[in-house]
Assembly symmetry: C2
């Protein structure tokens, strides 16, 4: 089992990506770095469990994902996903263009049978345990039964990767009563009740951060707004803290323990950097474009855990069950 790393994707590629991979390799993880051979030859990879797979092309952050992925089969992300296809049981990590990672995975690995829409999940901190939220951007307009599939996939990830024994699944909504919400959430609520999952009902954004559920499902538009709003409010707090620290001058040293604790809540920080792509035939982790080496190392560890867990099998069963019963709901 190896973790295949897209060395050219991300704002700080390849340096921070490669340094993260080196750190992971030192921890005993087998790595395949995919990218421009000459650039990767600059790094001290000797004596480590790191192979290099050449990919002459790259995909920029501002390119049109689907088009770029088709036009550039030799790009690092395409070569990485093709390699994962040939190495079942391995995993992939990329800090590149999210849409391109998604499109490559669909093209090279394919959707799981019976899964209509792969989704991107994110792991967020709460006052209690972490929560898996999906979809956070892959699917902007969703059907109710797709949210049910997201729920199954998120629960599979929570159970197998985060070790939550009977994940409490909730529907992100704007009120706790079943009769609250928009057309999509009303219909999804009814289906989730019959899903066989440990469905605990609706959850609002404030209760989500109080740790009231282990998995929260929503469409990719709302999920992405939740994610970006979280980043925005988090930056706002950090801005205020920095302002106060400046005003405190010397005395700001007293804020040290607080700042250390808050590191955990920066969404680009190691603990919350690994967003699994669920519903494709392979263990893919997308990390924040601004990821530094520490985050990449963490994402590689998560990817390893994802690939060696029973998550993919579990999601495959969800898809097959759906095919089997011929259900459309």
């Amino acid at each position: 089992m190896a973790v295949i790393v897209d060395a050219m994707g991300g704002d700080f590629a390849p340096t921070e990506i490669v340094n993260g991979a080196i750190a992971a390799a030192r921890d005993g993880i087998e790595i395949v770095l995919v990218g421009k051979q000459d650039e990767l030859a600059q790094f001290p990879l000797q004596g480590l469990s790191i192979q290099v797979q050449h990919a002459p092309d790259t995909i920029g952050m501002d390119e049109h994902a689907a088009r770029a992925v088709r036009k550039k089969p030799e790009s690092s992300i395409r070569v990485a996903s093709a390699l994962l296809k040939k190495s079942p049981g391995s995993a992939l990590v990329s800090a590149g263009h999210t849409g391109a990672v998604m499109a490559s995975a669909l093209l090279d690995l394919g959707r799981m049978e019976g899964i209509e829409r792969p989704a991107i999940a994110t792991i967020l901190p709460t006052t209690q345990a972490d929560v898996v939220v999906l979809d956070v951007g892959a699917n902007v307009d969703c059907k109710p039964h797709q949210l049910v599939q997201f729920a199954h996939m998120g629960a599979a990830y929570a159970r197998n990767v985060l070790n939550v024994s009977n994940p409490r699944v909730a529907l992100l909504n704007i009120g706790s009563e079943p009769a609250k919400g928009n057309e999509l959430s009303l219909a999804a609520h009814a289906l989730l009740k019959e899903s066989g999952l440990n469905f605990i009902g609706n959850v609002e954004g404030d209760h989500l951060y109080a740790g009231e559920c282990d998995v929260a499902v929503t469409d990719g538009f709302v999920g992405n707004v939740l994610l970006k709003t979280t980043e925005g409010v988090s930056h706002l707090f950090q801005h205020v803290i920095a302002q106060v620290a400046q005003e405190m001058g010397e005395k700001a040293r007293a804020l040290g323990p607080l700042l250390a604790k808050l590191e955990r809540f920066k969404t680009t920080q190691p603990n919350y950097a690994g967003a699994p792509l669920l519903g494709v035939e392979g263990a893919c982790i997308i990390t924040h474009g601004a990821s530094k080496a520490e985050t990449i190392k963490h994402a590689i560890r998560i990817a390893q855990r994802f690939a060696t867990s029973d998550t993919l099998n579990s999601i495959r069963q969800t898809g097959q069950r759906r095919q089997g019963d011929g259900s459309n709901a």
Copy 2:
């Protein structure tokens, strides 16, 4: 001009509501308190510019808004909105059931001509100036042209109440490029470009909190998720700060200046407590159900500013323009 206050609405009614009204009256604002006469008679209202209007009934937080409002014409919120109808130029404040306030306003005051959907706006802090976000819960499923009306209403409020001279209007979306988003946001983006407003394009949740726009429009489902997520992340930070403070023991006094500064960001705190209901024939401010006296006093001030500004006229013109040109978009 008086501010009509629903004395029975809110988690801490009537005590905190009445105390807030007393504080506002001491600042020279004329108040009409609406609620149960015998309960209100317990408070020291003598010598203040406060009248009492009896309303024998109340609407609880868990009642069905539309039904309760129709069934209880003698409820405090219904009596208050009927009174506002008879007192053009006055304003209304309620910390009660949001849906009931909305339904009462629609029933007693009515929608403005040409405005399809009244909206609830909220004023949020950013690292720069405040931002008006709407809709945050009145309309869960919206049409693109309704978002354009929200934009006009939000801009009118920003201009007239917050004194922003040429408000930068943005569409809350999940990417800055015009081609990003779901069906609703793609269509709304195209219409907003032609709206005559100072439309600056899409804004994401993180950029919103960096102060990149003065008004952000979205449908009530997404807006409510944004609002609740903001509350959730804010509580999470406060939870962490409280934890650290406990660990610091004596030394936690050093956190004082920070805690003071953060007060501003609690959404139930005075500065961000007044959510205007826009698009009905009257100046209505809805405050958080958990509002205490300070917040109520602030909301009363905001309501006064709203009612004495040109906001209602300005929104009326938006509606009339739309009627005038027979446009459906």
